[in-house]
């Protein structure tokens, strides 16, 4: 029994020494023969972090060496920050030298100053004795954005950020602030943690959520009132629309709902008897649920719509020519079927990837953005989507990345600008990824005006076979999108003599997004192809075929100026259409001085 205990003890100690300081130093200094260079670079960064957390003074010389020599790899920043975390005052001269070295990047000098502050020294003054050693409090898991937060001062110009340093985050307080011992980050510069309401309450999504979106759109197309005193004519018009879309994709099921309403109303009232007035209101709602087994799913859908039109057009002289009409149309439909795959909007995920690439290019990426942090970032952006300013989003993003140990050091002005560009990138809305194809049979009841009913247009009970497909992929660092959709529909069980319409079509597009050196969106190049084939199965009509190609380029010169050039060619029913569109938006680039 004793032997067994001794063996177990030896085994445990041998495992423990696998990450001893000498081993870690060896990993940093010597590339193993059987290890790829890129893998080794990651390993030595990890080793440097472990050295910083070792609390072993033998690690100080190695970290000093890295801090002084590794000016082009992120391991240099890890070492600078680690010297502060280690808490050994012997590192002060090295850190002071770095802090005063104008040839080094500002972010590195700022990190050195922060580490000096942790050691009780300034960038220039001699070392103050550290009154109390930094004690590591009991480790607690970091769970995310809790209610109690702490503030941190960033080096970005005139910016005081609020970081989600939470009650469950491991925080050690020193004379100069607090250190997150999980990450080594300097979270608090002055005083104790202060509660803040700046971090938003995050939406509650189930753990197995693959993707979700919630979109609310209000659009006032036109709204005008005018009175022409010369012709004594009053004109008024309004076009208002609103829509809501919500969808959640989980592993075993998905559901979505859309609802929208649109109002068009107008009045044209010239002098005399003539008067035109009208109002059109349409509303619709659509819901869908899917149940998955692997990639195969069953689908159920329901949709309803209502449209009411009122038109009054009074002739100037002849009452017999007056036109007045009020019509109502209503649809209620359900569909059942099955399908394969999913098509997800991965725009927010791409934003996270762009963020990681931005940090990596600035050598500020301590480690890859993990799934939990990615989710926290995306939900924070979700919660802040209604903000008029991107300020809170930027502050929260930096805080989350710092807390997770992903962002090394506080971002300087240049990096803050690039992060802001990522957060404001409008080229990331609706970026599809995946493949989805389904087949449904629908049953519906359509209510149509009598004039159409008399001509055997679809009315009453209508059954249809529906096929839908969608595909999307994001390539070349998410700067190239290839996507497409296809549909087909066929009327089933129509009564004898009733038209049996059918239609099918497909659209494919390729979009190339371009960015400037610092992540500014420069524009996009897009190529679209459309083909549609249909037959309404009525007398005197044939099958219709529409083929169309569009090519466009949008160039953004600055925030006020842009250019959109597009051309299209279409063939439909033997007729060829050419179209070209040039849209220029320009803003004056004012230069102003006042003494």
């Amino acid at each position: 029994m004793k032997r067994l205990a001794v063996v177990a003890l030896l085994l445990a100690s041998s495992i423990a020494v696998a990450d001893t300081v000498p081993d870690l130093i060896k990993m940093i200094e010597t590339q193993p023969n059987d290890m790829d260079r890129s893998v080794w670079k990651e390993k030595r960064r990890d080793a440097a972090k472990k050295l910083a957390q070792s609390k072993d003074k033998k690690a100080v010389p190695e970290l000093e060496k890295l801090a002084e020599s590794e000016t082009f790899d992120i391991i240099g920043e890890i070492a600078i920050e680690g010297l502060g975390t280690l808490g050994d005052a012997s590192a002060v001269p090295t850190l002071q030298k770095i802090a005063a070295d104008e040839s080094r990047e500002k972010s590195q000098r700022d990190l050195a100053k922060k580490s000096l502050a942790k050691l009780g020294a300034s960038a220039t003054s001699p070392v103050k004795p550290v009154e109390k050693p930094v004690e590591k409090p009991a480790e607690k898991p970091v769970t995310g954005l809790e209610t109690t937060t702490a503030t941190t001062t960033t080096t970005a110009p005139a910016t005081t950020t609020t970081a989600p340093a939470t009650t469950t985050t491991t925080v050690a307080t020193t004379d100069s602030g607090a250190v997150d011992t999980n990450t080594g980050s300097h979270l608090i510069d002055s005083g104790a943690a202060k509660p803040s309401s700046d971090m938003p309450a995050l939406p509650d999504l189930p753990d197995d959520t693959l993707a979700a979106y919630d979109r609310i759109t209000f659009a006032g197309g036109t709204a005008s009132v005018a009175y022409d005193t010369d012709r004594k004519r009053l004109d008024a018009a309004a076009d208002l629309a609103g829509a809501w879309q919500h969808r959640i994709e989980r592993e075993a099921m998905a559901w979505g709902a859309d609802a929208g309403a649109h109002l068009v109303t107008g009045l044209i009232n010239p002098d005399g008897r003539a008067q035109t007035r009208g109002a059109q209101l349409d509303a619709n709602a659509d819901g869908e649920a899917r149940f998955y087994t692997g990639q195969i799913y069953g689908i159920g859908r329901a949709a309803a719509s209502l449209q009411v039109d009122y038109i009054s057009d009074v002739d100037a002289t002849n009452p017999n020519n007056d036109y007045k009409q009020t019509t109502t149309e209503a649809d209620l439909q359900v569909a059942l079927g099955g399908g394969y795959g999913r098509l997800l909007d991965v725009g927010a995920q791409i934003r996270v990837r762009r963020l990681a690439r931005t940090l990596d290019a600035a050598r500020a990426l301590g480690k890859p953005i993990d799934a939990a942090t990615s989710k926290k970032l995306q939900l924070t952006w979700w919660a802040l989507r209604g903000e008029r300013s991107t300020y809170r989003s930027l502050v929260a993003t930096v805080a989350i990345l710092r807390e997770a140990g992903i962002l090394l050091g506080e971002p300087d002005a240049g990096l803050a600008y690039e992060i802001l560009n990522v957060l404001r990138d409008t080229q990331l809305f609706v970026r599809p990824s995946g493949l989805d194809i389904n087949l449904q049979i629908s049953e519906g009841y359509l209510r149509r005006p009598a004039g159409l009913v008399a001509q055997d247009f679809e009315n009453g009970r209508v059954e249809q076979l529906l096929v839908n497909a969608g595909y999307g992929t994001q390539l070349d660092d998410d700067k190239l999108e290839i996507a497409g959709t296809a549909y087909a529909r066929y009327r089933l069980f129509a009564a004898d003599g009733t038209p049996v319409p059918w239609g099918a079509g497909a659209t494919a597009h390729m979009t190339r997004y371009t960015y400037g050196e610092h992540g500014d969106p420069l524009g996009m190049f897009d190529l679209t192809g459309i083909v549609e084939l249909s037959n309404d199965d009525r007398m005197n009509t044939d099958k219709g075929l529409h083929i169309e190609g569009q090519l466009g380029f949008t160039m953004l010169f600055n925030q006020a100026s842009g250019l959109r050039l597009a051309g299209s060619i279409a063939e439909d029913g033997g007729t060829i259409f050419f179209g070209a569109n040039l849209q220029a938006t320009y803003g004056l680039l004012d230069a102003v001085f006042a003494r």
Partner: protein, 122 residues
């Protein structure tokens, strides 16, 4: 902001002297389910008239001068005063396809029954 729009319709290219109804889009038949296939932006007279073709309300071209086809549609809208043009375009853009169809659609539509056009004024 300036717009330069060039749209050339080669009606003479149409084979024969009959009416070409053109292809209908996804929203062309069948009601609310999948009825959003025509939901592209409708902001010009040309867009609005394409929407009518997509919906199977009017033909794309006809050798009969009395037929209300795509070209006649664009011409009609452009005769209205500015606010009337906008109202007609908005009305067509907001309508479901079934609401745009009239007796005679799509090959011989009764232009007077196209209710949105009555918003253009006289």
């Amino acid at each position: 902001m300036k717009w330069f729009v060039l749209a050339l319709a080669c009606a003479a290219c149409s084979a024969g002297d009959d009416t070409a109804t053109g292809a209908h889009a996804q929203c062309g038949e069948g009601g609310a389910i999948d009825g959003s296939g025509c939901s592209g932006a409708v902001s010009t007279a040309q867009d609005a008239c394409w929407r009518l073709v997509d919906c199977g309300a009017i033909p794309v071209s006809s050798s009969n001068n009395n037929t209300f086809d795509w070209g006649a549609c664009v011409d009609r809208i452009e005769t209205y005063i500015e606010v009337g043009q906008q109202l007609v375009i908005d009305c067509i853009g907001a309508s479901s396809c079934d609401a745009l169809r009239v007796p005679g659609s799509p090959d011989q539509p009764d232009g007077n029954q196209l209710s949105c056009f009555h918003l253009g004024g006289r």
